[in-house]
Amino acid sequence: MSKFLPLWPDQASTSAGQVDALYIYLLLVAGVMTALIFFAVTVLAIKYRRVPGREAQQIEGSTILEIGWSIIPFFVMLTFFIWGAVIYFKERTPPADSTEIYVVAKQWMWKFEHMEGQREINELHVRTGQNIKLIMTSQDVIHSFFVPAFRLKQDVLPGRYTTLWFKATVPGHYHLFCAQYCGTMHSGMGGDIVVMTPQDYAQWIAGGTSPPLQETGKQLFSTLGCATCHRFDVQGRGPDLTGVYNKPVLLEDGRTVIADENYVRESILNPTAKIVNGFKPVMPTFQGLVSEEQLNALVAYVKSLAQPPPGTAGLQNQPAISPAQTQKMQVQ
């Protein structure tokens, strides 16, 4: 496409082709519909222009026509809905094997943290052919992560994580825009998605100097005192976090929730919101004491605890039940 009169965005993700196909279908249907109306109005307006001596013929209507031109367009629209919903469902269901990258948006820049520890500002390096899941949050107001070449967009909210996944297909530099008005430099909050071949990417990622994200998280876990209560060797005042990520957790009030990223994040910032069954609500809140990046590192660390950390006996991957609870159950 012409560089100075772009009529179509580049296709650089697996979603792009699907979205474009649906768009072309809609353009065709809409085009035909518009042409039909334009044609009908023009022809009728000319053919039935006023001619002295010919009176207009009063026609009340036609129920058959009304039903027809209600039902047929409705079914055509249903095809739009179904196709669009299928694409949307796929776009909102990240594959299980996705590589994760944490994104923190703030007025007016994008901060990225790769699991390997690389940090980037306003530029995100990824490789082709890999499922990538962005775990995003905002430090301040609502922003939106938008890459036209991927045909993907997701609002980024303060106080929670939202996700967006993609698989890039064509190496190149693609615009990243903020698409939710966020203040003075909303239009300057742009960036570059740098898609590389696997070989180029491997070279790039190897050049990093920061520790992997979960290592940072592990250090924070220790320095912030989490390890005092959340122990892996014996039962502590807090639940054992081994293997807790993405598993169901039984709460004090009887509810069961899944320990996803938002749950882990909430547990750090607002511990009294959900108390695990059998534990006392003694965990202090860390709201205001940890930055978004530190939260991301802690979340990454908790997610990595599939196995108990080396050097601990481990509590054999039990669900979070306190010894008191176990005793009660045995007595009954």
């Binding site: 607002n270 009294t272 609500p281």
Partner: protein, 227 residues
């Protein structure tokens, strides 16, 4: 054009008195619907946050006085009775009785506001007014078990408490003003069995404000109360 004899209250763009009465009545009902939609937004916010932060909301609710809330509920229900009786008096042409009931309604309304003011003052003393002075260390008493709550969420409860009861109180003040004006006009003889539409329509307004309170009271005051 001849000017036929008619009730001076009949306005000239209406064909007859019945049309005017019907129009006024429909107009008031429509206005009440807008009030329901207006309060509805706050009820919606309350619903969402109560579901999300139940414990904190229960803890906040337990800090409200059931005795005062129940008293106010009774006061308002009685005032709705006096409104009905006022309408009946107007219909029967009993001017002094009408004025009496209107005045009693206003007094009951002011009683409600006085009790509310007392409650607000109590909230002020306990540092439960949202904002920089807010302090909340109470727990949610769940049948004897004390569950600590996030003070920020309790503050959200009180924000909604003040927003909802405050907006309601504003409507009560307007209602008291309205009924005071009507009492004066009634005393001067403006209403008769042939024309008492303003009394009826103001009555509808008062009943709606009463009904809104009847929803507010259990929602705000009665979360997780046990004997």
């Amino acid at each position: 054009m001849e000017h036929a004899v008619h009730n001076p209250a009949l306005l000239h763009h209406f064909a007859d008195a019945q049309q005017q009465k019907d129009a006024a009545s429909l107009g008031m009902w429509l206005f009440l619907v807008t009030e329901i939609m207006f309060f509805g937004g706050m009820f919606c916010a309350y619903l969402v946050y109560r579901l999300a932060h139940f414990n904190a909301f229960a803890a906040g609710s337990q800090q409200l006085s059931i005795a005062l809330g129940a008293t106010n509920t009774a006061v308002l229900i009685i005032s709705s009775v006096t409104v009905v009786l006022a309408v009946k008096a107007a219909e029967a042409g009993r001017r002094k009785v009408l004025v009496g009931y209107l005045v009693v309604t206003v007094l009951l309304g002011m009683t409600f506001l006085a009790v509310k003011g007392f409650e607000y003052r109590e909230k002020f003393e306990k540092h439960h007014i949202p904002g920089p002075t807010f302090k909340f260390t109470n727990t949610f008493d769940d049948n004897g078990k004390q569950i600590p709550v996030n003070p920020k969420e309790a503050e959200l409860f009180f924000s909604l408490y003040f927003a909802m009861t405050g907006m309601h109180a504003l409507h009560m003040i307007i209602g008291c003003g309205l009924f005071s004006v009507l009492a004066v006009l009634a005393w001067k003889g403006h209403y008769s069995p042939g024309y008492f539409t303003p009394i009826e329509n103001a009555g509808l307004y008062w009943h709606l404000v009463d009904i809104i309170w009847i929803y507010l009271f259990p929602l705000l005051y009665l979360i997780s109360r046990h004997s």
